[in-house]
């Protein structure tokens, strides 16, 4: 009962954030890039509910548009990571042999680096930019999915339904796509939910360090970085983007947790 409640709470919160991101141009009172130097660093007013930043840009509008960046980077990263992870994991798990050995060594090497360090290193090489952030995060993100898929396929490939499909003459690709992958959807979906949260935090970290989305594009991480310079006079610049980021990650963690509980209680 409690699990279901937290799942719905997370889903409602995520839906709200996703809708805000989708309809950002309709919801925001101002252009997020529009500067008004006469109204800089306002804490809050009737015109600017969450105040303004150092260039007089409306903070609420920037936070709503920032949701677009966070969700876009998160979803793209998870999408690309899933594509690579599923392909590598399936090939490695089903074919075995030298392909498995090589892929697993590569994954071991990539996982030997702390994720954020590798993301920072890749971003430093590629330079700032939305597509570069997605690429850097996807380059480190696929390994977890590949390991999960490989492990699951190793345990499933000797099961009767796979042997039956093989005996009927199904080709390996058909067995993987039609017989094995559908069985992997629940754990994959859970990992993708946590992966989305991790990608959003990683994008925020990179933008906070000046290696992510380039200004003036509104990103929660870069907004937090800008706010750091005005902690004494304008703490709202730090508080509000951080709350938006935390709520997004919290919503995804709630959904992921609830799904994991459900899966565990089913398999128990």
């Amino acid at each position: 009962m409690a699990t279901r409640f937290w799942f719905y709470a997370g889903a409602a919160l995520l839906l709200l954030l996703a809708s805000a991101a989708l309809f950002a141009p309709l919801l925001t009172p101002y252009d997020p890039l529009q500067q008004n130097l006469e109204q800089d660093l306002i804490t809050h007013s009737r015109q600017h509910l969450l105040g303004t930043d150092k260039l007089g840009r409306d903070l609420l509008s920037r936070i709503i548009f920032g949701a677009r960046i966070s969700l876009l980077v998160g979803a793209s990263t998870v999408g690309i990571s899933l594509l690579i992870g599923v392909a590598v994991g399936s090939l490695s798990g089903y074919a075995g042999g030298i392909a498995d050995l090589l892929f697993m060594r590569l994954i071991d090497i990539l996982m030997a680096f702390p994720g954020i360090l590798l993301a920072i290193a890749f971003s430093a090489i590629l330079g700032p930019g939305l597509d570069h952030v997605i690429l850097a995060l996807a380059l480190i993100g696929w390994t977890g999915y590949a390991r999960l898929i490989r492990g699951e396929i190793l345990s499933l490939r000797e099961r009767d339904f796979v042997s039956a499909a093989r005996a009927l003459g199904c080709r390996p690709r058909r067995i993987i796509v039609l017989h094995l992958l559908p069985n992997l959807l629940p754990p994959l979906f859970i990992q993708a939910t946590f992966g989305l949260a991790a990608a959003i935090v990683a994008e925020g970290s990179l933008s906070f360090l000046g290696l992510g989305v380039a200004p003036p594009t509104p990103s929660w991480g870069s907004m937090l970085n800008e706010g750091r310079q005005f902690l004494l006079v304008a703490p709202h610049l730090t508080a509000y983007p951080g709350i938006a980021l935390m709520l997004t990650v919290l919503a995804l963690n709630l959904i992921g947790d609830a799904l994991q509980d459900r899966l565990e209680s089913r398999t128990r």
């Binding site: 702390p114 360090l117 290193a121 590629l126 970290s205 290696l211 937090l224 004494l232 951080g242």
Partner: protein, 307 residues
């Protein structure tokens, strides 16, 4: 144990080799000319040539790699382009500060998480249990690049209880250590609580109770000891993550460790220094994982990994 050690060493060698290769390729996979990136496109041809020679970029790739490995075996990581000092010396100067911060963060995480997790498991299903779980979920959802400025505003700026930044005494450690350790605290609470609940329902715990052992004995000798065992791996692996997490925390609190040095090197495009910092952090991470595996196997000989 000896066979296991050899097996783990055999796995460690290709991983180390791969890490070194990836760090070496760091400069070479840069899109465009790395010299252009470091010096800017307006640099003179002579300056470019000099930098190319310093970095050894004028030699064939295989020779550069060989020279990189030979130098590395002598702990020579090259020279910083801006400070004109040995990268190895700069990294080793900063490393203790990062280690100090990571150890304190881990200490804080253990100190906070253990009582909370035990309390939560003992009062399973109560409002205190739910509150602890919610706290841990919030902790996991709160990125340290937000938590850092937040605790800075509250405890350093508004209340004035603790210093804002720097490394000058134990009080300077409190805010960075709490910021860095919160994620680990949250994770440990969840894992230890789950482990305790699992162990509490095991037959041997019921048997211990049926034998008439005191609740204290059941907890200390049977439940807690077994629940802590599987937690050991998480603690060690998290320690490696703390070293990496220091990149952000050290930047926020101007903590003079290797994380801040990395970010300064990236900002100045000092690639030999970036390479040295990345290598130091990743090798620490690899060795922490390696020793964790060995210790875990030593503590619990039932554990096997493959063949």
């Amino acid at each position: 144990m000896k066979r296991y050690l050899l097996y783990r060493l055999a796995l460690l060698v290709p991983t180390l080799f791969g890490v070194l290769t990836l760090v070496f390729l760091f400069i070479h996979v840069t899109p465009g000319d790395p010299v252009d990136i470091m010096l800017g496109e307006t640099a003179s041809a002579a300056d470019r040539q000099e930098l190319r020679q310093i970095l050894g970029l004028n030699k064939p790739l295989a020779e550069q790699y060989r020279s990189f490995l030979i130098k590395l075996s002598r702990a020579d990581l090259g020279r910083s382009l801006y400070e004109r000092r040995s990268v190895a010396a700069m990294v080793s100067e900063r490393y203790p500060a990062t280690l100090e911060l990571a150890l304190c963060a881990m200490g804080a995480a253990l100190f906070i998480s253990f009582p909370l997790a035990i309390w939560s498991a003992v009062r399973h299903g109560s409002w205190t249990d739910r509150a602890t779980l919610m706290f841990s979920l919030l902790g996991l959802s709160m990125p340290n690049f937000w938590l850092g400025p937040l605790v800075m505003i509250i405890f350093a700026i508004q209340l004035g209880w603790l210093p804002v930044s720097g490394r000058d005494g134990p009080d300077h450690l409190v805010l960075p250590a709490l910021t860095l350790g919160l994620g680990m605290t949250a994770l440990l609470i969840r894992m230890l609580r789950a482990n305790l609940l699992r162990v509490m329902s095991e037959d041997y715990v019921q048997t211990a109770r049926a034998k008439g052992l005191s609740e204290r004995s059941v907890w200390l000798k049977h439940t807690l000891r077994n629940a802590l065992l599987s937690l050991m791996t998480v603690v060690s692996l998290q320690f490696g993550s703390l070293l990496a997490g220091s990149l952000i925390t050290e930047t926020i609190f101007s903590w003079p460790g290797i994380g801040r040095l990395t970010m300064q090197a990236i900002a100045m495009r000092d690639y030999p220094l970036v390479q040295g910092c990345v290598l130091a952090i990743s090798l620490s991470y690899v060795f922490v994982n390696f020793f964790t595996d060995l210790i875990y196997r030593w503590v619990d000989p039932r554990i096997t990994y493959g063949n």
